[in-house]
């Protein structure tokens, strides 16, 4: 069971095969649960790692600060001892900052290769990748892509991840929607002369006004986010490209939009 889940492409193949078999929805849920468990496990490992490295100097700094406060209040520590303590505290806090800096450098995505990118091509690639998932739900994606769009200055790989994630969570949201009501529409438009907007609309239960601003927060377990991390990653990527991302309820379900400045505007 576990071996064919490690490679997402293989998983898609098996999902497509299951589709013919009939129990596709159940199988899809299992796969999703598995993906979620794997992702959560690796996030937990990462958090443990960070906590381990950071807790030591942070704990020492905290204790030093409290000792200094106590020493000053009761006069039990000499000014020299307090000064040495403060030096130590500064060094410890700098160590925390350094560790986080290193971590940031280590986990940074391979530096964005910015290129004049055709956003419609990115959308088509993401759709092709998501086709087996859409087919499993019986959804035929509709595209409404503006022709003659100006290229955006972007890392096409990372942008594709954003679009693919938005499609994925739109499909997830429709898992319990009646098959006739399921729909997926992707649009691209030139909203201003210097800005392109991409919209992914689904026919799912939608997002409430209170939910909408929170869906991009990390670790927010809403109906939409699988573990509350994918959408946070989307926001990080879009903002890296000087764009904006948001979600609103639509007549059919929910629509997730993001903007990108055109290559000329950047």
């Amino acid at each position: 069971m576990s071996s064919h889940h490690t490679d997402p492409n293989v998983a898609h193949v098996s999902a497509a095969a299951d589709h013919a078999g009939g129990d596709s929805t159940e199988r899809g849920l299992l796969e999703r649960a598995f993906d979620r468990a794997t992702l959560l496990a690796s996030v937990e490992e990462l958090v443990k790692l960070i906590a381990h490295d950071v807790n030591q100097p942070l704990g020492a700094a905290l204790m030093t600060a409290r000792a200094c406060r106590r020493g000053l209040a009761t006069g039990s520590l000499s000014p020299e001892q307090v000064r040495d303590g403060l030096d130590r505290l500064v060094a410890d806090v700098e160590r925390v900052s350094e560790i986080l800096g290193q971590l940031r450098a280590a986990t940074r995505q391979p530096s964005a290769v910015l290129a004049a990118t055709d956003i419609n091509a990115v959308i088509q690639c993401a759709l092709a990748d998501a086709a087996p998932d859409a087919a499993r739900l019986g959804v035929t994606p509709v595209t409404n892509l503006a022709s003659g769009l100006l290229p955006v200055s972007a890392d096409p790989q990372r942008l594709q991840r954003v679009v693919r994630t938005l499609i994925g969570q739109a499909l997830d949201a429709m898992a319990s929607t009646a098959e006739n009501d399921r729909s997926l529409t992707l649009r691209s438009t030139l909203t201003t002369p210097s800005e392109v907007t991409v919209a992914v609309e689904d026919g799912g239960p939608g997002v409430s006004a209170t939910e909408a601003p929170r869906v991009f927060e990390p670790f927010t377990a809403t109906r939409r986010g699988r573990i509350g991390l994918e959408l946070a990653v989307c926001r990080a990527i879009v903002e890296d490209h000087d764009g904006r991302i948001w979600a609103v309820a639509s007549e059919r379900g929910a629509v997730f939009c993001f903007t990108l400045p055109t290559a000329d505007a950047r």
């Binding site: 381990h52 807790n55 030591q56 100097p57 942070l58 704990g59 020492a60 700094a61 905290l62 204790m63 030093t64 409290r66 000792a67 200094c68 106590r70 020493g71 009761t74 039990s76 520590l77 001892q81 040495d84 303590g85 130590r88 060094a91 410890d92 160590r95």
Partner: protein, 205 residues
């Protein structure tokens, strides 16, 4: 102003943590001796005064739990306060079973740690004075002659002088004489007191 009659040992591989612990103990007038490894602590000569040990559970080399076992095996009676970066229930149960005074999770509150240290030092003081009292009793007991020890055992089993004389084939006067020496050497004011003294000696013999 420092409490010369107490000492806090710290074993932690992290220099920042050692410095922070030392400063915190100084802020309540407690002197500290710290070591980066369990082995360094074991190798060091330690003054024989009331003391406790603050120990990091996870250290490279001999871990905190191993050091605790080594100390127990070597007969070193020192209250141990464990500090751990992770709330590890299994590990804390093991440590507490092996006689740890406290098991605290980092970041530990300063008052919490200070309270634990004071508590551990008071346990150490009590254990020392109790050990000293027993050693004193042992010395008194050792000063008895074999015959006096014999008489003592008969006395504390509730035998009367006349019975003891018969048991040991001695005259009543001789028994009374031996009995007087026993009470004097053991510094016991009554038979009841003598019984208590011997009871205290028993577990250590």
């Amino acid at each position: 102003m420092t409490d010369a009659q107490a000492l806090v040992f710290v074993v932690d591989d992290d220099a920042s943590t050692r410095d922070a612990l030392r400063l915190l103990m100084h802020s309540v007038h407690l002197p500290v001796q710290d070591y980066a490894t369990a082995d360094a602590f074991l190798a060091a000569t330690r003054p024989d005064i009331p003391s406790c040990l603050i120990l990091d559970v996870r250290m490279p080399g001999a871990s905190g739990l191993e050091l605790q076992q080594q100390l127990t095996a070597a007969g070193v009676d020192i209250p141990v306060i464990f500090l751990t970066g992770h709330a590890d229930v299994r590990m804390s149960v093991r440590a507490m079973k092996a006689g740890a005074a406290e098991f605290l999770t980092k970041p530990v509150g300063d008052q919490e740690l200070i309270d634990a240290v004071h508590q551990a030092l008071s346990v150490s003081r009590q254990a020392r004075s109790s050990r000293a009292a027993v050693a004193d009793l042992q010395q008194r007991f050792a000063s008895l002659t074999p015959r006096e020890k014999e008489v003592l055992h008969h006395v504390i089993s509730g035998r009367l002088n006349k019975q003891i004389a018969g048991d040991l084939g001695l005259s009543l006067v001789t028994v009374k004489l031996h009995r007087g020496h026993v009470m004097q050497k053991m510094e016991a004011g009554s038979v009841a007191e003598l019984v208590k003294m011997v009871q205290r000696l028993e577990p250590s013999r």
